[in-house]
Amino acid sequence: MADLSVNLGGISSPNPFWLASAPPTNSGYQVMKAFDQGWGGAVWKTLGVPVVNVSSRYGAVNYRDIRMMGFNNIELITDRPLKDNLKEIEEVKKYFPEHAVIASLMVESREEWHQIVKDVENAGADGLELNFGCPHGMCERGMGSAVGQEPNVLETITSWVKEVAHTPVIVKLTPNITDITEPALAAHKGKADAISLINTIQSLVGVDIDQMVPYPIVDGKSTNGGYCGPAVKPIAQNMVKNCAQLEYGRLPISGIGGIENWRDVVEYLLLGATNVQVCTAVMHYGFGIVRDLESGLQQYMKDKGFQTVNEMVGKALGNVTSWENLNLKYKIVAEIHQEKCIECQLCYTACEDGAHQAIGLSEKSRIPYIIEENCVGCNLCSLVCPVEECITMERRDNGQEQITWKERTENGTIPTTFNDPLAGGRDHWVPDPKDAFNKE
């Protein structure tokens, strides 16, 4: 069995699977139960001056028969008194000394920050996570994302905490910002030990079209919330990658956003996260999902020959470059494997209406065929095809040549005027507009 233990900026845990600060870490009972089932760490539900919450609090985006593909909440930080939380942290640490218990914090003044840091460290917390991310409710009071969106303020508060903290400090970032690396660098300047991202994305998850109120509805009114769940993973991964690729000021990363299975975990690790945090998937399916996370990660590491989690971290980063460095000579085209085709013709419709009219239908058979001259290799047909491996993308260039946009810019061979003969699509065949009337 591979060694799954990790160390994030000085905080060690038996595995990379942490619960994110959220309802699943609201109480000692839940955290103990999670550790008992296999989670390696937990970031406690954010502590501070307790709040008053509303009901209802959540909304969801369901996609066809899949529930909670996206999830939205308007909850605030903990509504439980600090002393109860401290007592429970102490208790958890007694039973699980090797596990990571991180106190998530959100207060206002320097004095309050100093006090609460001392309190949670006394209770036995292994680290601190500063919640500069909450995009609703708290930011209106000058906390949460109001801090995360102001790199200077973020840096100042981080340094307040570092004045007194004896345990490592993680700064949790909000994605509600244009360039995620700005707050990431501010955290570095404030001497944080690590960053975690992303917190939720400001959102409305839909509108009740009878009552004409967005969800979730609180006595006939609603407000924006924070979006999370599988739907946000692509956004979060891009941000993690951006922070992981920083040449100067890079901090260890705890990856968060839409993680539900072991594959998601592997992806985050490959993109440069040292460990991961999970919220929505646990709210949906419970702590038990950690069994799949663990067995899947173990199997993957075995298959790929990784001994420790750390060896994997960032392994995909070298393969993420900017668009201008991609090889313009690389050419793939779609190929339909007739024996697998179930004759749904979804590829035909997609290419015909949504791409490049490179798929044809014949009288004799329902199986579509590729018109290779028209195929630009966009992938769309293979993405819509419901059959695994029925449409594959096959390489057509000779594999020898390479030219990038950057190189062409340097050579002066890029299109620069509106009707430039160097345009990529210049000789690409398109049907006559009037042909549209001859189609069914």
Partner: protein, 444 residues
């Protein structure tokens, strides 16, 4: 041995005849509709005789636009709920679903269709607006699936429609013929009632047209006539003993069953003669009524049976036993049936012949002849000009269902010789449009 106890009350009857395609609940419908791939030029549409835009109504179910889904269905097929339950979907829409190529269970199109249309029926959704009265009067003869479909379509197009029906209830064989485990009588009647409310056509029950004068009267009172008269009684076998007590025609036996329900009579030992779907139904039904032994006897081999594979499997699953390559020589008994004298057969050079000396008797107290229905030849002969083919099917002069008598159109079993409900619905809709076109062209 069959597995059923004789039903003693309506509840036991319902249990024995448990619905094969129960109405889905909203969650089932949502999950099932989510599976649809929304194929281009979807094969399911082409496989449906009424060409319902199936992917569209499935998407409408999925987005909780149930009225929209029902409208999509009814636009193509006036008996959306009935068809969803009684169509042999295995060989129609569901048989064409591309999932079959992947060995994935095809979409349950029939059940989704019934789900959406039954919601519209239960909520009494008024989905269609009739065209303004065009002053044309059309008579529809027969309130079976063909007649009802024609009546709806004609009313939609603005014609004044009167339906003449011999029996006291509408729906023809959809009510008196289709097996009770496919659909309940009430469900059939509710859909017709729903349509009648929406389209306001009048049905005159117990009003058989049976004499030449009846048709002359029609000609005087109406501008055109649709004939949806279906088929007649079970064909005679010309066998000794056919008139014995206990010897039934399948159509008559099933009508008795559908009418008397748990009070229907059945023998202890039943022999069903035939290899078509009606034979399979009758055998299934005899089993479910509590017959102890049901033998399905067919004169050719198992593979040559006309019945759909799944219909045979269904009969077999409730205890009917197949007996192939035998043909009856006589039905035995004094007053009541006591057995059937069979002789074995074989096929030589594609010709069926009996094997001399191979005759034997099977004891039974009921014989059900599922050997086809007569055509309504005598009735049709009362109408001047109309022609039939040698087998008695009404002939048409074009694909609009127009007969050799230009004022008469037809569709359904009377024209196609006996197919399914959905064919009758489809053909009658086309004929109704044909009538409308005919009446519009002959305006002056």
């Amino acid at each position: 041995m069959t597995d059923f106890k004789r039903p003693a009350n309506p509840q036991e009857f319902e249990e024995n005849f448990e619905q094969l395609h129960p109405i889905m609940n909203a969650t089932q419908a949502h999950y099932e509709s989510s599976r649809c791939l929304f194929c281009h030029d979807a094969p399911c549409i082409n496989a449906c005789p009424t060409e319902i835009d199936i992917p569209l109504f499935i998407r409408q179910i999925n987005t909780n636009n149930l009225s929209g889904a029902a409208k999509t269905i009814y636009e193509s097929n006036w008996l959306g709920n009935i068809c969803g339950k009684v169509c042999p979907t295995e060989v129609l829409c569901e048989g064409a679903c591309v999932y079959n190529h992947q060995e994935v269970k095809p979409i349950e199109i029939g059940r989704l269709q019934s789900y959406a249309s039954s919601v519209a029926i239960n909520r009494n959704k008024h989905l269609f607006e009739k065209a303004l009265d065009n002053g044309k009067k059309v008579a529809v003869v027969g309130a079976g699936p063909a007649g009802i479909s024609a009546a709806c379509e004609l009313a939609l197009l603005g014609c004044m429609v009167t339906v003449y029906e011999a029996k006291e209830l509408p729906s023809g064989l959809a009510l008196y013929g289709v097996a009770p485990y496919k659909i309940l009588n009430d469900t059939v009647l509710e859909e017709v009632e729903y349509l009648q409310k929406q389209f306001g056509f009048h049905i005159k029950y117990q009003h058989p047209l049976q004499a030449a004068e009846d048709f002359e009267q029609l000609d005087r009172a109406f501008d055109a006539v649709f004939l949806g008269i279906g088929l007649g009684s079970t064909r005679e076998l010309q066998l000794e003993g056919e008139s014995l007590d206990g010897c039934w025609g399948a159509v008559e036996f099933i009508e008795m069953l559908k009418t008397l329900q748990h009070k229907a009579m059945v023998g202890k030992k039943v022999v069903v003669l035939g290899g078509g779907n009606t034979a399979m139904d009758a055998a299934s039904e005899a089993c479910r009524l509590g017959a102890e032994q049901v033998v399905l006897a067919y004169r050719r081999s198992k593979d040559e049976m006309r019945a759909y594979e799944f219909e045979y499997e269904l009969a077999k699953s409730v205890g009917a036993v197949g007996l192939w390559n035998v043909t009856p020589l006589a039905i035995l008994g004094e007053e009541k049936v006591v057995g059937v004298l069979f002789i074995e057969t074989r096929t030589i050079d594609k010709k069926l012949e009996t094997i001399p000396g191979s005759d034997y008797t099977i004891d039974c107290d009921m014989v059900i002849k599922a050997t086809g229905q007569n055509k309504q030849k005598a009735l049709v002969q009362l109408i001047p000009g109309i022609q039939t083919d040698p087998s008695g099917r009404i002939l048409t002069v074009n694909d609009l269902g127009q007969t050799h008598n230009a004022r008469y159109f037809t569709g359904g079993d009377a024209m196609n010789g006996g197919k399914e409900v959905v064919n009758a619905v489809a053909e009658a809709k086309v004929a109704a449009r044909g009538i409308h076109q005919y009446l519009t062209e002959n305006q002056g």
